[in-house]
């Protein structure tokens, strides 16, 4: 029927790589969560909290996140354009280069090569590598879409194109620096201006790595798994354009009450509130899609991953704008509330959706069924419980920190010293580790299930029909 072959091996390679880097990132996450209440687990020079935390964030955002995005996007793009990748050999090279880059990135962060820009810590030689990786990806995605055999571009392709463009702009601008040796550079931006550039980047890299690509997956895999069409095409159009337009105004809500000019903060807060609308456009679209037949939640094991995922996306996109308000920011900014917020997004929305995508793809390209739906269900409940324990304990301890930092005696003097307040966090930090352990066990069930599915299937069989 088809005179071409989908390059399933590259897709498979990226998925396996992203799971590998995910394990590394999650294990280091557990380690630093214990360091928070047991400082004796710091082993200088390479394994102190200050170095490991950036390996954790970069490993998961770039290793697990981008690795999964590359693999799943290649899978989606080929199917929505009804043709193989324009440059399949380049995609294979892309896979090898990706793994080399992530390995070198991890080593460089252990060595303390760090630009001190959050989520852009990698030093300039690695930045060049990341840009090359992204250009290779962009060439293949754009080329394949331009030479597509299906005239209409489906919603997922819009989000994919927006992701490719936005990440390139964000990454290149924020990493502009003056090298001072092979392992050190200084940003071209200084002081207040560098803060504004960094959080324009920092907020939007979350938007265009952990929101738009995941929405591309959601819009593709929700109809695929449920067999239900997306509720409203018009709503998806409005949500898409207003999301990518409004996102870029909002970075300065990370800098509320800093010396950044007030007008930039206020403008960012206003657009942040507006951002609830397009975010919920996708949430509503997802709910109403499944509203046609809620029994899918019982009959199709992947529906609940996607629906819980979009639910956490919905909660995240209300909580985020709330945090941007000055009255809320003054209480919770700089506290553990913020990691609680971030992890509801990453552990709730992102990994739920990515896991559902991988559960869908692996049996397809291995020409088999999932090894065990029962194990997938166990995985689901464990990561859900683990993530809730993590987020809720961090919200409690974050509010506690914020309130105690502000607590005063009757005469107006401060009630507690900093270290007295820190000591009150320990039970919560220990609870957070427990949540992390439960989440990790859930992820191990996921990996076992994927591995066993691969074992019973065959990747090379009849590749043209997958």
């Amino acid at each position: 029927m088809n005179d071409y072959q989908y390059d399933n091996r590259t897709v498979n390679g990226f998925i396996v790589s992203s799971i590998f880097w995910g394990v590394v990132g999650i294990v280091i996450g557990l380690w630093i969560s214990v360091q928070m209440w047991m400082p004796s687990l710091n082993f200088p020079p390479y394994f102190t909290f200050g170095r490991l935390r950036v390996v954790h964030t970069n490993g998961l955002a770039f290793g697990l996140g981008i690795g999964a995005i590359f693999g799943i996007f290649y899978y989606i793009v080929m199917r929505l354009t009804k043709r193989p990748l324009l440059f399949p050999k380049l995609a294979r090279f892309h896979l090898y280069l990706f793994n080399i880059a992530i390995a070198l990135a991890a080593v460089s962060l252990f060595l303390g090569m760090n630009q001190s820009l959050e989520y852009a810590e990698l030093e300039w030689p690695l930045d060049i590598g990341v840009v090359i990786l992204w250009v290779i990806f962009a060439v293949n995605v754009f080329g394949t879409i331009i030479k597509r055999k299906e005239e209409q571009m489906y919603i997922s392709l819009w989000y994919i194109l927006a992701t490719v463009i936005a990440v390139a702009v964000l990454y290149i601008v924020n990493n502009l620096s003056i090298p001072a040796g092979w392992n050190k550079s200084y940003s071209v931006f200084t002081g207040v201006n560098s803060a504004n550039v960094e959080w324009w980047y920092g907020h939007n890299i979350v938007g265009f790595l952990l929101t738009t690509p995941i929405l591309a997956m959601f819009y593709y895999f929700l109809p695929k798994t449920t067999g239900l069409p997306i509720y409203s095409h018009r709503l998806s159009i409005i949500a898409f354009w207003s999301l990518i337009f409004a996102y870029l105004w909002t970075g300065a809500h990370h800098l509320v009450y800093t010396p950044l000019p007030d007008w930039i903060q206020t403008l960012a807060i206003a657009f942040t509130i507006f951002l609830i609308a397009p975010s919920w456009g996708s949430v509503v679209n997802g709910f109403y899609t499944v509203n046609n037949d809620w029994s899918k939640m019982q009959t199709n094991y992947l529906t609940k991953f996607l629906i819980l995922g979009i639910t956490f996306y919905g909660l995240q996109t209300v909580q985020g704008p709330t945090q941007g308000l000055r009255v809320v920011s003054q209480l919770i900014h700089y506290t553990d509330w913020v990691p609680g917020h971030v992890h509801m997004g990453t552990m709730g929305w992102v990994t739920m959706t990515v896991a559902a995508s991988i559960y869908y793809i692996i049996p397809k390209i291995y020409h088999t069924e999932i090894y065990s739906e029962k194990i997938a269900n166990t995985h689901f409940w464990l990561v859900l419980i683990g993530q809730l324990i993590f987020s809720i304990t961090m919200w409690i301890t974050g509010i506690t920190q914020g309130a105690l930092w502000k607590a005063t005696n009757a005469d107006g003097s401060l009630k507690y010293t900093f270290v007295e307040i820190l000591a009150k966090n320990y039970p919560y930090w220990q609870m957070r580790t427990l949540g992390g352990v439960i989440f990790t066990v859930g992820m191990l069930f996921f990996i076992y299930n994927v591995a066993m599915t691969m074992r019973k299937g065959n990747l090379s069989l009849d590749a043209s029909k997958a």
Binding site: Q35, G50, G181, V192, S194, E198, I264
Partner: protein, 194 residues
Amino acid sequence: MSGELYKKPILFSIAATVAILVGTAVTMFYPMMTDEMHPKLANLKPYTALQLAGKDIYQREGCNNCHTQTVRPLKTEVMRYGEYSKAGEFAYDRPFLWGSKRTGPDLARIGGKYPDAWHEIHFENPQAMYAESNMPAYGWIKTNKLDPADIEAHMKANEFPYTPEELAILKTKTEMDALVAYMQVIGTAVTKVQ
């Protein structure tokens, strides 16, 4: 809305790029062109070679993962840390080191707050000073010598003035000396005014 746009990937990509660049231009590119984003306090001095070496170590060890360097203009914050941060204090920081999380206290007014010896003892064993602290120990940097050639390259990249004597002295200093020197200069451009 026309369905044609979703059949033309190049036109679509141009439209998406424009959508993304509007907010970028207004909130990021435009302010960068104005003076309000490049203020400098009269008292602010470029870092000395030893201080810059200390700041490099601060960045290498990821201290900004747990310590902020910006005091918000809130009553209890000013009471706890000191004068709130001014935009003109950071003109020599490439990039800014304000941080985003206070696992440890803010450091924007740490300069001059304690003697050098306090910092050395604290870095070596934070728990000896505060039993309930969770800060990692940094005694190991005492045995690391500074490399004047490296630091000279860093001074040049920042365009900071320095003398050959200043660089020569670095050979006798350790990373601990540098980090303490950096601690002692943070935020002092403001406190000197008062």
